[in-house]
Amino acid sequence: MAESIRIGVYICHCGINIAGVIDVKQVVDHAKTLPNVVVSKDLVFTCSSVGQNTIIEDIKNEGINRVVVAACSPRMHEGTFRNAVEKAGLNPYLFEMANIREHSSWVHPDDPEGATEKAKTLVRMAVAKARLLEPIEKSTAEVTKKVLVIGGGIAGLQASLDAAERGLSVTLVEKLPVLGGKAALIGDLVYSEKKGWQIAKELIEKVVTHENIRVLTRTTVQNVSGAFGDYRVSFVTEPRYIKETCMHPEKGEEVCPVEVPNEYDFGLTQRKAFFKPFEGAYPPTYVIDMSACTKCGLCLDSCGKETIDLDAKPLEFSEEFGTIIVAAGYKPYVPTTGEYGFGNDTRIITLSQLERIMSENGPSFEDIGLSNPLENIIFISCVGSMEESDNTDARTYCSRMCCSSSIKNMLKLRELFPSSNIYFLYRDIRTYARREEHLYEQASKSGIIFLKYEASNPPEVSINGKPSVKVLDTLVGKRIQILADLVVLANGMMPPSDILKLRSLLKFPCSPDGWVAEAHPKLRPVELPSPGVYIAGSIQAPKDIIESIISASAATAKAVVPIIHGRVELEPLVSYVNEDICGACGICVSTCPYDAVSRVVLQDGRRVARVNPRLCMGCGQCASACPSAAMQQKSFTDEQIHEMIEQLVV
């Protein structure tokens, strides 16, 4: 190396955190004896402005070109010192930190001598590494000015709209043939003059007419490659099989002989394979469910052969995006057959099903065979939520919206059937949101009976002519029995079924209960660990409509920032390959958790591994796995590590 290496070592007292145990002077003196060390000082608080200025002054005046600070954990102040070093005109990566607080003084308070010796060793190792440090340049990459939103529920719609309003180009993909998600299936909402489907409709109208938004229904994400700022995403769009030229699609539905449970009514009713999802759905067109279709051809006869193409092929295409917002929503928990009698009697339904019955665009009580006024109505809370189990995958979480939704519907049922007796068999009432407590109050004053049950002693439902619910009332201290005309199981929310696929495509972690784990629950609640990927709505955890909209707007606010900046800063401490010695064995390719390493063919025909610095997170797994030492991690090269070990064992 051309210039001579001049190292400055700074030993921090950290008040008494370090100096209370370690003899700092001894460490300072020891550092002075090490080769290339020109300055060795102790500072009471190195992180203070006094401490930082000392380093800056020494760099300027003493010609120091490598800095070692022995203090706390790099997690705490590495950034602070790098900034100081950079301020003094030195490359910030010519800095090394020795952790003599967490690794020495704090863990050996009873052995000051040993702790001092350990601190000396740690400093010696850091100095040895510092001697081999190289300057590293930060690099940036251009960002594609497009946002992808996955999921066309209210969160996805709101996110698309927010991004488009900021002038960005948005692609919204929805796997179903209709937009609006679960909100479009709901009628009255808690304290909202607008109904669920009206809110969905309003958002849909704004989204589909917006010039910056492209909406793709029946479209799923197949693959994601590329990196932050330049994600390459491939999609498949399933055809509707019915052409726009078909003038009377209702005829096709009429003749279709295939009947399957209607997922838009949560199985309350049947639908045809040739169907229109529900009244008022957008897009308002008919579609053929190919997984159910038997290709009998009856619809061809009634609609005309030229208007229906049962052999239409799915459309595959790919596009680049700067950032991605995941808003894939949730799926309602479906009780197993026999769970609280579910499936054994038509009078036992889920809360999702009841929401459909109460909604203007859903079936009526008559449609499901309940034509008489209901006398006794029982709601059972926490079905599929708040499970008390030691299983790691137990749904121990609260689904949050079911209490308010149940109570809202109880009050509506009370209006429909004024002489009815309504019972709520609950675990805990969590009408947590603003104004919802008032709803609970209203319900309780209207004579709805709230019966608390314990998880260890859940209600039993049997069919005895009518559904009969037995439960131990904790207040009476005895089991009581209610003959019900309607039992509503307040089913909770579950992560959507395609969360696993999205998880492998976008590389995000999930909590043990299956929901997406955000980058940080408090500091980065709408971001995922992969840069440039954000979450909106209830895929994160059970959320109500308000919370979904809020998180969608928050996620969009974050997602547009890199695009507005135009360039993204890349992680500097990444891996790199010495292509001269790489044997292209591929171990690094399979080791990398971020798909950052791939094999490429050089111009001379040789195959080597190559790291995409946009994708590399600097974890170092490839470097430790490489059998030929061709893979190196910046600032953690084999040479540097070996030198540190050498200093440790002398």
């Binding site: 004053k445 131990l472 207040l475 201290g477 089991r479 029995q481 209610i482």
Partner: protein
């Protein structure tokens, strides 16, 4: 011990057949004066402030829950309503204004009607019209009796001096009143037997109740009957109410004993000197009765105290009829001393009429049933406690 019995009850309850809910019961109970039990959210404030409820007697909270669910059998088999002295502290502190004290009162009325073998209580409680008709029947009974006596010649009207014992011969009045008393006592005791059967029925199966338990706890009945000492565990202001009630009880009991036990001595045409105990005991008891009944009536009219805010028509029966009995009794006395034959006879007849009505309503819808059921409840509770303590010890 209390925890152990609760635990035992819990274990037992899971094996038991479930109780069928019957929410329509609320409508039935509303006729007895229950206000709005639906709005109670079972917070338990009432139990916390109540001086009478405890581990084994979780009222009014449990009672109101039984009302909400319509668990009729639970209400009838529980002594809880009778352990309440209606101090009103629960209603004072109820955050929902669900009127728990009033509810306990209404349950007591309802249980009286349920235990009553004649069915008259039910009619008198639930309909004011029926109440008036039944009262009229009882009021006419002595008039008809006197008319028959006179018609048959067993009695005569002496007009030159007051000869009450000729107008209504004391031996016949004595005999008739004892027949009437026997009837009332039978009705009351059948009610008491029914209560005993209901309250103990369930527990006979579960805990081994022995005859000795009844014997050794009998003092509970006497104690509660004569002193109502447990009342003093109620709120601080209740000592005065207890004292007034105690005075009422003493004077009523004295007067009752004088009239029923010593009618010969009492209903006499001989005029004793003022120093004679027949006169001063009588005057003292009369004054006390007059004071206490007026006190109750004024309290109910003013509606100042929590418990006086709602008055069911049955609540008026006791003070009003007793007041009328006392006043008419005083008038009989005064008119006799003034030597006015006809006014005395008429006033005497009126006195008999209101007395008959008072006694029948006291058994049917009022104080006499309280007088029996409340001590009986304390007694049966003590019997159970004694038996269950032994049961636990033997486990």
């Amino acid at each position: 011990m209390a925890q152990a019995s609760i635990l035992k009850q819990k274990i037992r309850s899971t094996r038991e057949e479930a109780l069928e809910v019957r929410p329509q019961l609320i409508n039935e109970l509303k006729q007895f004066g229950i206000i709005n039990p639906e709005i109670c959210y079972n917070c338990g404030m009432c139990v916390a402030v109540c001086g009478q409820s405890g581990m084994d007697h979780n009222f009014p909270r449990r009672t109101i829950r039984c009302v909400q669910l319509g668990l009729e059998k639970e209400l009838l088999t529980s002594v809880d309503p009778w352990l309440c002295y209606y101090c009103g502290d629960c209603t004072d502190s109820c955050p929902r204004e669900a009127e728990p004290a009033e509810m306990m009162m209404a349950i007591r009325r309802w249980t009286i009607a349920k235990y009553d073998p004649t069915g008259l209580s039910w009619k008198m409680y639930t309909s004011f019209k029926s109440f008036l008709l039944i009262s009229a029947f009882w009021a006419l009974l002595p008039v008809v009796g006197l008319l028959i006596l006179h018609f048959l010649g067993y009695a005569e009207v002496v007009t030159d001096s007051v000869q009450l014992n000729k107008f209504a011969p004391v031996e016949i009045i004595w005999f008739a009143s004892h027949i009437y008393g026997l009837y009332l006592a039978t009705v009351l005791l059948i009610g008491g037997y029914r209560m005993h059967k209901q309250v103990m029925a369930e527990d006979f199966k579960k805990i081994d109740v022995k005859k000795s338990d009844y014997f050794f706890t009998a003092k509970e009945f006497l104690d509660s009957f004569f002193t109502q000492r447990k009342w003093r565990k109620c709120g601080s202001k209740e000592i005065r109410r207890w004292l007034r009630h105690f005075l009422l009880f003493i004077s009523y009991a004295t007067m009752f004993t004088l009239i029923v036990g010593f009618l010969w001595w009492f209903q006499t045409d001989e005029i004793y000197p003022l120093t004679h105990p027949q006169r001063w005991i009588g005057y003292l008891a009369t004054l006390l009765l007059l004071y206490t009944t007026l006190d109750i009536i004024i309290g109910r009219i003013r509606k100042r105290a929590q418990i006086h805010r709602f008055s069911h028509h049955s609540d008026w029966v006791f003070p009003v009829s007793l007041f009328l009995v006392v006043v008419s009794g005083i008038f009989v006395h005064v008119l006799r001393y003034m030597a006015l034959p006809w006014p005395t006879y008429i006033m005497y007849t009126f006195h008999l009429m209101v007395s008959t009505v008072m006694l029948s309503t006291e058994v049917g819808v009022g104080k006499w049933s309280h007088l029996l059921y409340r001590p009986l409840a304390h007694y049966l509770d003590a019997v159970k406690q004694r038996a269950s303590t032994r049961g636990i010890a033997s486990i």
